[in-house]
Amino acid sequence: MPSRSINNIHYDLQTRQYILGDHYVRRSARNIRHVRPLTQLVWTGSFVDQLTSEGKTSTLRDVFYSAQAYEMSFADQAESDDIITDLETVIGHSREDFNVFPEERSAIFGDLTIQYTVRGYEGKQLNLASHPDGMMIGPALTNAEFADCNADKIIAIEKGGLFTRFIEERVHEKYKAILIHTAGQAPRATRSLIRRMSRELKLPCYIFCDADPWGMHIANVIISGSANAAHLRDLNTPDAKWCGVWASDIVDYKLPSDPLTDLDIKRLYELDKDPRYDGKLWKKEIASFLKNKRKAEQEAFSRYGLAYIVDKYLPAKLKEMS
């Protein structure tokens, strides 16, 4: 299988994401160091084969525990997660394709009607604006078809509080948007869903995160993908736009802010060298962070009233970015 070691991960300008290079690794049952992970891989293969043939889904944690029934125990979940990544690499499909999902936490809300394909719900339709807390992005939603859409853009938000505020302030109506709560780093299923909506429904995507290196990177991973998923394709949305909160916004909007920590600054220097940060905007904002040495959360806009971010900041940004 293709090697996932750091020196075999390259940035591909064509697909604008990380991909694996030409190095391959060989696992042999003759090798004492290989026999255990190879056995685990074969077990995982037979486990997900059974899963898919029965139309059931599982989670990463489930797989970790299920192994113990076969005296195949993994040392910890990190080890079983790693073997699942091996299986993805071997067969060139993401784990969602063989019904293994992470712990769901991401959510979606907006005027999009989907049609289920999962067993027992085939053909059933649901409008994603029908529940005011938003809908959890799980296996059923990930596999659904898009039936009808009245939105003309996607807005992805890092924080749950702000996602709820946007729904309350009826952003989905005012701006004809589908709202996505990434809950920190967006899970793969969410990234894949954003890509599908962006491709199939031709919707532009705008991303709002905290104004710090970590928030900035949430946006970047949605746009350019992660190094961890270099063995997979079709998870990134190269045309999505990072709209804020920028380092320059802290100054421009006089937001309450905190000083950057040493760790934050170290991370900024790392990102500065990362090929995914080659764009003009990224370089300008990294420079701005390093110059002002301040960071702010999305909630910082609340100093101007709860509706300010929706009524003033959001339209300004959408206008600037489109």
């Binding site: 190879l38 077990w43 037979s46 084969d49 059974q50």
Partner: protein, 516 residues
């Protein structure tokens, strides 16, 4: 009135009585240990002189006083040695510095007062008499009850009688009371006896302790090392005082003759050439040397390249006996012994013998156990000051020999010499003389090399077993899961694969060795 200082001559016995620390009789704990040690060593020497396999019986019994502190104990030792001619028994045991040890020969003790110091200490702590019975083999056994007159350094015989000797027994029995803190000394005494058994595998030692417990160390061989021969002093090891004494004794009329007669490996040619170099006339009468000339002679001797001392006067244990001793007391899984060729320091010949053992009764953890011996005596105190300790712990790179500190490994170092280079008068540890240090290091490297071969084999076997375990665990699972995954029902048989695991591994092991 002017104060007058009183000068008083003291006897040898008096001197040692006042300075008993020197001879290892510091306190009741050390005293009983030293007593046992001196008695056992005298007995062993008495047997080895005539190559009699030693049969030694030792008993300590409690007489009075405390048992958890200093009390009075009775000590008895019996041996089957050559015995002592009856007319010199009183002097041999009742006069300090009387003995057979003031010649240049490898012996266990060198004070010439070991046994006597023990008796002297017993006498001053208990006011008791010592009973000595001995025979050299004829029809009578002589018994003396005696005390030492400390001020005169003379024995006082209280009783002398004879017993018939029908069995033509030869040997000696010594019995007396002494003050001792046995409880504290016990573990050292037992260590001492066990280590003596290692270094004298041809001896049978029987010990009955104060609580009536029997300890027995049986001989495993009757083969004994050749007894040491007496030798002349080597010129390198001579000082002014020794030279003066020799001049007093000599009957030679010329310096050449004097050099030839009284020094080790000096012949006419060497003597002539040496005397020319120090500018002394070869025909000069040695008794007419001026003090300045004597000093010139001694200094010249130190610098002149004489022949190295010959080691025939030494009595090493030999590889076979050292191995037998270690095996019998520790039954190790692996053992290697090695004897270096004779070498010399400052005109004194010496031989280093070493052993290394793995497993058996050697405890694991806490690093390498060190057993030190000098002239067949176990050395138990002040280990960290000894040259062997320095070599084992700071000079040998054990990692190079695959040795780790958690392994059950013991190292044995035996140095024999006409003059063991002890660092202090206590004679418990050996000075780090460069010649001695080098010999120990080279000897240890040799046995460590052999140990490392054993260890790599052991590691390979463990490695192979581990591999088989791993493949045994996983191959059947691969067969099971891949059968399921392929949708088949009949599982392939992995047992032929498991058989090939070891064959395959042994090939790989060979590669590993080549790499190393």
């Amino acid at each position: 009135m002017a104060l007058q200082e009183v000068f008083q001559e003291i006897s040898a016995a008096d001197f040692f009585y006042r300075n008993r620390d020197i001879a290892g009789f510091t306190n009741p704990t050390r005293a009983i240990y030293s007593t046992i040690r001196e008695l056992v060593e005298n007995s062993l020497d008495a047997c080895e002189t005539k190559q009699i396999p030693p049969e030694i019986y030792l008993r300590i019994s409690h007489e009075s006083g405390a048992t958890d502190g200093p009390g009075v104990y009775r000590v008895r030792i019996e041996d089957n040695g050559i015995g002592i001619p009856h007319d010199i028994i009183p002097s041999a045991f009742g006069q300090v510095l009387f003995g057979s040890k003031y010649k240049l020969r490898q012996t266990r003790g060198t004070f010439g007062l070991g046994g006597k110091m023990a008796i002297l200490y017993g006498q001053i702590t208990t006011h008791g008499t010592a009973t000595i019975m001995s025979s050299t083999g004829p029809t009578k056994i002589h018994q003396y009850d005696l005390i030492i007159d400390i001020q005169k350094n003379k024995p006082t015989v209280l009783k002398h009688k004879t017993h018939p000797n029908e069995n033509r027994w030869h040997g000696a029995i010594i019995e007396f009371s002494t003050e001792a803190d046995y409880t504290r000394a016990m573990s050292k005494i037992l260590d001492y006896l066990m280590e003596t058994a290692i270094v004298a595998p041809y001896a049978t030692l029987t010990y009955v302790d104060p609580r009536g417990r029997l300890y027995r160390f049986d001989r495993v061989t009757t083969q004994m090392p050749k007894p040491p021969e007496e030798t002349l002093p080597h010129p390198h090891g001579v000082d002014v005082e020794t030279l003066k004494r020799l001049i007093e004794l000599t009957n030679e009329r010329t310096l050449v003759g004097f050099m030839r007669t009284h020094f080790h490996r000096v012949g006419r040619t060497i003597a002539t050439s040496f005397l020319q170099q120090v500018n002394l006339p070869t025909r000069k009468n040695p008794k007419k040397l001026t003090p300045e000339e004597i000093v010139t002679l001694v200094n010249g001797m130190k610098n002149y390249k004489f022949l190295a001392p010959d080691a025939s006067c030494l009595s090493p244990l030999g590889e076979e006996l050292l191995e037998a001793g270690i095996k019998k007391e520790l039954s190790p899984e692996f053992i290697a012994v090695y004897q270096r060729k004779p070498s010399a320091y400052a005109g004194f010949p010496f031989i280093v013998e070493v052993g290394i053992a793995y497993g058996g009764q050697i405890e694991a953890g806490g690093g390498i156990k060190l057993f030190r011996f000098a002239n067949k005596i176990p050395l138990l105190f002040d280990e960290a000051s000894d040259v062997s300790w320095k070599v084992v712990n700071t000079q040998v790179d054990w990692r190079h020999y695959k040795v780790t500190s958690d392994m059950p490994i013991a190292v044995f170092v035996h140095i024999c010499s006409t003059k063991v280079p002890y660092k202090t008068v206590g004679k418990e540890f050996i000075a780090d003389r460069p010649d001695v240090e080098r010999e120990i290091l080279n000897a240890l490297r040799e046995v460590a090399r052999r140990l490392s071969l054993f260890l790599s084999k052991k590691i390979h076997i463990a490695h192979d077993k581990h591999r088989l375990d791993v493949f045994q665990k996983y191959l059947p699972k691969i067969a099971l899961f891949s059968t399921k995954l392929a949708g088949k029902s009949k599982q392939p048989d992995v047992s032929p694969l498991l058989k090939s695991v070891l064959r395959y591994e042994s090939e790989e092991s060979e590669e590993d060795i080549e790499d190393a």
